[in-house]
Amino acid sequence: MGFAFTLFNSWQAETVKGDIPMTKQKVLLVGHGMVGQRFLEALADRGGLDHYDVTILCAESRPAYDRVGLTRYFTERDADALSLVPDGFMAQPGLTLKLSTRVREIDRHARVVITEAGERLDYDKLVLATGSYPFVPPIDGNDRPNCFVYRTLDDLDEIIAAADQARIGTVVGGGLLGLEAAKALHDLGLETHVVEFAPRLMAVQVDDLGGGLLKDKIQALGVTVHTNTGTRAIVDGEQHRHRMDFGEDRHLETDIIVFSAGIRPEDSLARACGLELGERGGVVIDDYCVTSDPDIFAIGEVALWQGRIFGLVAPGYQMAETAAARLCADSEPSFQGADMSTKLKLMGVDVASVGDAHGQTPGARSAVFFDQSTGVYKKVVVSECGRKLLGAVLVGDANDYGNLLQLCLNQIDLPGEAAALIAPAAGDAPMLGADALPDSAQICSCNNVSKGALCAAIDDGATTVGDLKACTKASATCGGCAALVKQVLDSELAKRGVEVNNHVCEHFPYSRQEIYHLVRVGEIKTFDELLEKHGSGDGCDICKPLAASVLASCWNDYVLSKPHASLQDTNDYFLGNMQRDGTYSIVPRVPGGEITPDKLIVLGEVAKKYDLYTKITGGQRVDLFGARVEQLPEIWKILVDAGFETGHAYGKSLRTVKSCVGSTWCRYGVKDSVGTAIQVEDRYKGLRSPHKIKMAVSGCTRECAEAQSKDVGVIATDKGWNLYVCGNGGMRPRHADLLVSDLSDQQLIRTIDRFLMFYIRTADRLQRTSVWLENLEGGLDYLKQVILDDSLGIGDELEAQMQQVIDTYQCEWKTTVEDPQAVKRFKHFVNDDVADDNLHYVRERGQRRPAYEHERIELVQQEG
């Protein structure tokens, strides 16, 4: 559909252009980066495409993508997911995009631009959005092979390719981007170093104390940081490709070098055609983004406004809006500088800086909170009179960012003592509720969305953060304001009397979490009892399976015992996954993916005997498709006799614990990942939960088991196990967060016990751990407090509840095949033993699959 639509539109675009060529002016946009794309959107929104034909000259081979989210590419490897260009956008009449087209020269007198391929394009108005290029320090050997920069998708592709052959990676530069690059190298499994010339990391954003703490934290994650270190030369190494020479006999050997030592405006075109530049580069613009040539605009990182370059995307977006407005003869908005506050998560460490972080305003005073044991550093800078917030630095805990930013941007009188703003007892801190903000308060600085704009969207019917994101772009870029957006949403919805309810369905006025609580506290053992005490009506296909799952999580009875059987949806009722023709699949458990040849042969024999379509699953086991309901017990009898257990592929429960071969065979393995995976899988098999749970164990940081895309991921290091949680693959991938490192075997199990039980107790229906964590108030920090510090005092209880579930485990298939009454239910017809006569198959690639509708019609005709 999308494809046909695009084709149609581009055809239309051509004819329209042909009809009215003379009346329109020509705009050339040089550079299709983040800001260039925003300029196009702003121009289109203002109706500018009726007056201008815009040709976009893009040096890169891909249209604009989210450079801010570049690092995601390492984990997702999906360039399309980063695209900033909405489907069909470029097909609008008036837009022509030329990819892989670099501009070589601008001839201002002839008003012509010449591309590297020699093409000449004339213009009425020219917009320069060429961004920046990474600065590579002039060190001898900086052009050796395997020396990279970190700016484009192509750069990343090269780094990924080189990392395959490498063991050590080094980043030159310990600023924001350098640390991001270091994280990427670390995630690629390289031993990672950061070399920084300055005495601290992130010199621009944080001060000495904060920088020191950041260094400690980052070192703790396994990245070595060398501050106060300048590189003299890069030469051949002895063990590794390069040796970086630091002078005074200090050096470092490494296979890969990534330079991230700052950026410089990409102003060479402007320089060559004589536009006014700043002393240290950058194309000078006025408040309307016009350069010294009235027909040429400059926007984004290439532009210099009042002597300043803005190396962030938000100011660039404001320039884009300004230039687009100007072309449409609107004088509003003009560019008035921009706030450079930032909040980010670097290698799992929260870092934020607001306003005048270094206290450079005359008379500024600061208050500091520093707790080395928890690794939290906070500083606020206030005005001489003590009433206004000028700036702040946060390391280790950036929860106050939104609050502080609003106080600073809106120059709100401080609600109390400056120190109280960052006092550790969060409950007592004078919080600035979303209500206290004026409508003009800027909530999302990346996309310049005010509180007023959010309220308007809520009036127009937005009821979720997702809605707001879609219609206002709030929190769509860096995500730093997501929590604040949610606060505004909740308080506005409450004001409008919208009750935000999370009731599971019409039969129970409770959330899943509340039902869990009712069941456990009230010792409710059956659905009938639950319905009678707390619900109404008959129940439905939402609340019945939910109740079945909660009852199983709490009491772990046999799921097909009489009181529970009618609650199970068909997958749980027949202990198999129903496929599209109504037959079922069979997935025996293969713990950790380890299987003996004899057992593998049994699977093969069963598949052959019953002509089951056979496929290897992503979770390292074997899926057998096409078993009819009445065949299930006899097939499972064979499997159970051969020592297999159910794999619970049908249940909202633990699926698989994937493992790499680890120290059992792998030359890099530092621990027995297979053994641990089997132990973990055996422990939690059958555990019923709000949604399916997937886990993995890797034997070293090379992470071959992809543990960081799982609900629970375990990675071996020479110091113990690192535990990652709440990752996800599938439809909405999410990188797991590091919960805790360096665990012993025993600590690992206890921590997973607590984590899983806490999730089961508190998650909503069908909420994967990833979404659960995103919605958990207080986020990862809160989770750490509950699981690791036992802040709620429920640690023992969680472990005990888990132990109860584990102690009462039974293989449902074993119980079923041993119970003649239960087996009886596995029939297609109650009044006949024959099979369903409506199943039709086609053979493909040597196996059988259900016929598609058109094939079925033919088959039925042939048979009939």
Partner: protein
């Protein structure tokens, strides 16, 4: 049933062969039916073929109520069908045939003619 056609009743099973709150498949002289026994003992019979997947799976759907209408949810794509009229709640152009059912002593009978 107030109908001028004489119904031909066929005994299909004993009542306690259907667990309350569930359904079973029934083989008819022509075609298949899904026979349900609700939690309070009512019997309903509908076509067994799910019109959305064309698989004979309706008997394996979950029973429940939606806004007072008693329904069965298709186990494949989860559309709901009214147990009394066979109408699909999500798509009013679709409905399942309803078969008259009655209980005689232990036996459940479905009308086929």
């Amino acid at each position: 049933m107030n109908s001028s056609v004489t119904l031909e009743w066929k005994a299909v099973c004993k009542v306690d062969e259907i667990l309350p709150g569930t359904g079973v498949g029934v083989r008819l002289p022509e075609g298949q039916a899904a026979l349900f026994r609700t939690r309070d003992g009512q019997l309903h019979a509908l076509d067994n073929m799910d019109p959305f997947s064309r698989a004979n799976v309706i008997s394996r759907g979950l029973l429940g109520s939606l806004g007072g209408t008693r329904v069965v949810a298709s186990p494949l794509y989860k559309q709901h069908f009214c147990l009394e009229t066979g109408k699909c709640l999500e798509d009013e152009t679709v409905s399942l045939t309803v078969y008259p059912v009655r209980q005689r002593g232990e036996l459940v009978e479905v009308a086929v003619g």
